[in-house]
Amino acid sequence: MDRMPAWADAVLVPLISLLLAAILSALVILAIGESPVEAFRLMVEGALMRSAGWGYTLYYATNFIFTGLAVAVAFHARLFNIGGEGQAMLGALGVALVCLYIPWPHWSLALLAASASAALFGALWALIPAYLQATRGSHIVITTIMFNFIAAALLNYLLVNVMKPAGMMEPATATFPQAVHLPTFQDMFSTAATPLFRGSPANVTFFVALLACLFVWALIWRTRLGYEIRAQGHSETAARYAGIRPVRIVVIAMLISGALAGLMGINSTMGEAERLILNSTEGAGFIGIAVALMGRNHPLGVLLAAILFGFLYQGGAELALWTNIPRELIVVIQALVILFTGALDNMVRMPLERAFLAARRRRTRRAEPAE
């Protein structure tokens, strides 16, 4: 309430940032001799105008919700968890183990077990950096980044040397049994008369992601633990004064964060690929940082930002398919959005704050004319 109204902070700042990113992207597209209007039309059409497009957009969004929530929860304790990527990889490993080695009678049971396993693996992968931060002061940004590399190497080893079926050329596990196939949106919403979401990977995990949003909201703003996490995040001195043990909060917040990142594994591995492949995360762990930044670490914000990034991913794929805009340039556009909404947040916020202040001063001056 101090500087500008809450709605401007939550809506106006990201919108203006997006607009700036869009303008710069348009200039880049113009510079290589393509039409930005046409490109934008293609992106919208490919990602949002057809149900299959939505199917892809929401599939990507599901990944980003999990990793975005992971970053958000850690951030409430003032911990910058860069390790979502590695934690998601380990989560995917947990999913694969459950799906491959246990015979499941029905997908719903498998989903429950896979979720638990994914969360557990992700949480354990976050535990070591969390413990080191809490008791030894090793910076969590550094350790989680390093753990991303360790996770990638570990998966590489397991897939090449241990889990790959004999005779297969690709470093991947065998396809999961049919019984653990998760219902896709196509399975759920298509009827014979109106086929919907045809061939798109969005699946029931999206609803798990929505539940996760609800869970995080309740955790942060309704529980005693959330209260302590936020107190610790704002001021460790205050937390200690109140008898909150920083070590406990750091470890628990990172466990929850890691578990959320790990849950992404059910979407990518069980929902889409239906086997564990190398690089199943495709950088979603890092996109989660941008999603959490843009979503102001609030589950609703994370949800909306995740859908936006899902749209960018799917729209970008469409562009690569239908135009001469090279794939690399689409990455540039995505990077511009991250840059403006995440890193350059203050560039928009500060002038806007000044504008609101000036406007308010004019209003008060008019309200009480000089005597």
Binding site: M1, D2, R3, A218, R222, T223, R224, L225, Y227, E228, R230, A231, H234, S235, T237, A238, R240, Y241, A242, G243, I244, R245, L357, R360, R361, T364
Partner: protein
């Protein structure tokens, strides 16, 4: 009236921060060669006004005249060029540079340091002789006492040819004796024709040293009067806008059983420096024990140990029960369970979570109480009802528990903390600097609440660097210096001079000048700390 132009003249200065009008149409004339005091409560706009004069803020309206000449001051460079020097409340020194290096920082001449350093060394020697401003030019700043660091700040300003010196709350961190020395320096500067503006909220200083005093209240200059024609009561009234009780009404204490017993308490900080060197202390029910001392002599550590945020060795009993001083049970949660409430010295960093709403802060530390919880969820409705009650009883303004702690003034923030801690009806209340940064009106209220708790038969341990506060609240005064208890005094049978000497670690050497004894004392302490750090 003198026929010379005023050293500083402000005409119609206004400055707003958003909806807050920090300065409203302020006019002020400071005569050359005088000491001019500016007094006002926190948030009255004193610092804003001086920041405009020093080029940190741009005024929305108004003009500045220096020595009769209209002057634009867009930045501090321009202020220095106009001969204005500023000594900030928080020093702007590079801690690991020597005094000389700090003095020349920003005014080095040429690419090599040597000639500048030599020039500064000569200048410093002259200044030291002229104004009792003696500081070792080759000492590293972080090894100096606070009083000496302040002298370095003054030297910096003088080296830059300042003839108008602004000091912002200069005595906040000094012992009474160090403050006296500072005042002697200022008097010397005044004799040399320098103009001094002293910003403070301490009435005593104004009365002691200034020639003229201006009073600010809520962004306005309410009066400018010659100091000789006013009184502390009158100034307080001008500051607050109503009559103020400067001393608390209280009956003699009726101490009962011992609540807190401390034996041989020792604390070593993370640098290996011993901060508490064997404290023995007892506090009984129904009395206020006031700990006097210059900031940084172990009082904070004592409160932290008792509040459960710092580990220690020794023995502490609360209501006869042994208190854990290390390990898991040496935490704030356990302490609260033992009936200890704690109003910490730093309410903004420890006592409150500033971005939290008032209602969230109103249960901070007690948030595990079943009354505020339903299973794993917190009962936010119950907490808000509870906060509304506290706001009502402690007259916290604005009376809206949904505002964040940072939207309250210092006094109201302190009332939130106090309401929370007193409301738990503790056996022992720890209070650190209860009125630091709190306006006079709220001080009265806070003091009354503390006395009321004492009269209800509770034990109170008060730490304050304000001697006035110690005198008006404490039933027994304990002086701490360098991690030790220097002595105990009955407030009715001591005075500021005696306490001041104890606070400086001196038990009476009346023939030596005070400041000299203090300097020697400091050197001894520094040598000890240095040895501890390396040993």
């Amino acid at each position: 009236m003198t026929d010379t132009a005023p050293a500083i003249e402000l005409r119609g200065i206004s400055k707003a921060f958003g909806p807050v009008q920090a300065n409203k149409d302020i006019s002020l004339a400071v005569q050359p060669g005088t000491i001019h005091g500016i007094i006002g409560e926190n948030g009255a706009g004193k610092s804003t006004l001086m920041s405009i004069l020093y080029g940190f803020y741009k005024a929305d309206a108004g003009e500045v005249f220096i020595r009769g000449k209209k002057t634009e001051i867009p930045d501090s460079q321009a202020a220095i060029a106009a001969g204005i020097g500023m000594v900030f409340q928080h020093f702007k020194l590079v801690p690991n540079f020597t005094v000389l290096e700090n003095v020349i920082l920003g005014v080095e001449e040429g690419g090599l340091l040597k000639p500048s350093l030599a020039k500064a060394r000569r200048a410093l020697t002259d200044l030291a002789r002229e104004y009792e401003l003696n500081v070792d030019p080759d000492a590293v700043v972080e090894t100096l006492s606070v009083g000496h660091q302040q002298r370095v700040e003054i030297l910096k300003a003088l080296y830059r040819q300042a003839d108008i010196l602004i000091l912002d709350e200069p005595t906040g961190v000094l012992t009474p004796a160090e403050a006296d020395h500072l005042f002697r320096i200022l008097a010397g500067l005044k004799r040399e024709g320098k103009t001094i503006v002293l910003i403070t909220h301490k009435l005593r200083e104004i009365m002691e040293i200034t020639d003229t005093v201006s009073v600010m209240r809520q962004g306005e200059m309410t009066a400018t009067v010659p100091t000789s024609e006013t009184s502390p009561e009158h100034l307080a009234e001008l500051m607050v806008g109503r009559k103020v009780l400067l001393r608390v009404d209280k009956t003699p204490a009726r101490p009962a059983q011992t609540v807190l017993e401390i034996e041989k308490l020792r604390v070593t900080d993370q640098h290996g420096v011993e901060r508490l060197k064997g404290i023995d202390l007892a506090v009984r029910a129904g009395e206020i024990v006031g700990i006097a001392g210059v900031a940084g002599n172990g009082q904070s550590e004592l409160l932290e140990v008792l509040g459960g945020t710092r580990e220690a060795t020794g023995r502490v009993r609360i209501n006869g029960e042994e208190m854990a001083l290390t390990g898991r049970h040496a935490d704030g949660r356990t302490r609260r369970g033992q009936g200890i409430a704690h109003v910490p010295e730093d309410r903004q960093r420890a006592g409150l979570v500033m971005p939290f709403a008032a209602w969230e802060n109103a249960v901070f530390g007690y948030h595990r109480d079943p009354a505020y919880n339903r299973g794993v969820l917190m009962d936010n409705e119950a907490i808000r009802r509870d906060a509304d009650n506290k706001i009502d009883r402690f007259d916290i303004r604005p009376a809206n528990c949904r505002l964040s702690a940072r939207s309250f003034s210092g006094g109201n923030q302190q009332k939130i903390v106090l309401a929370r801690e007193i409301d738990r009806n503790p056996d022992l209340l720890l209070v650190g600097q209860p009125t630091r940064g709190v306006d006079i009106g709220a001080i009265e209220f806070i003091h009354q609440e503390i006395v009321r708790l004492r009269d209800a038969g509770k034990a109170i341990l008060l730490v304050s660097v304000e001697l006035d506060e110690i005198f008006s609240l404490a039933d027994r005064i304990v002086v701490m210096f360098d991690g030790r208890v220097m002595g105990e005094r009955d407030p009715a049978q001591t005075d500021e001079r005696e306490l001041g000497l104890l606070m400086a670690g001196i038990e009476g050497e009346p023939d030596k000048p005070e400041w000299q004894a203090i300097d020697e004392q400091w050197e001894r302490v520094e040598a000890e700390e240095e040895a501890a750090r390396h040993g």
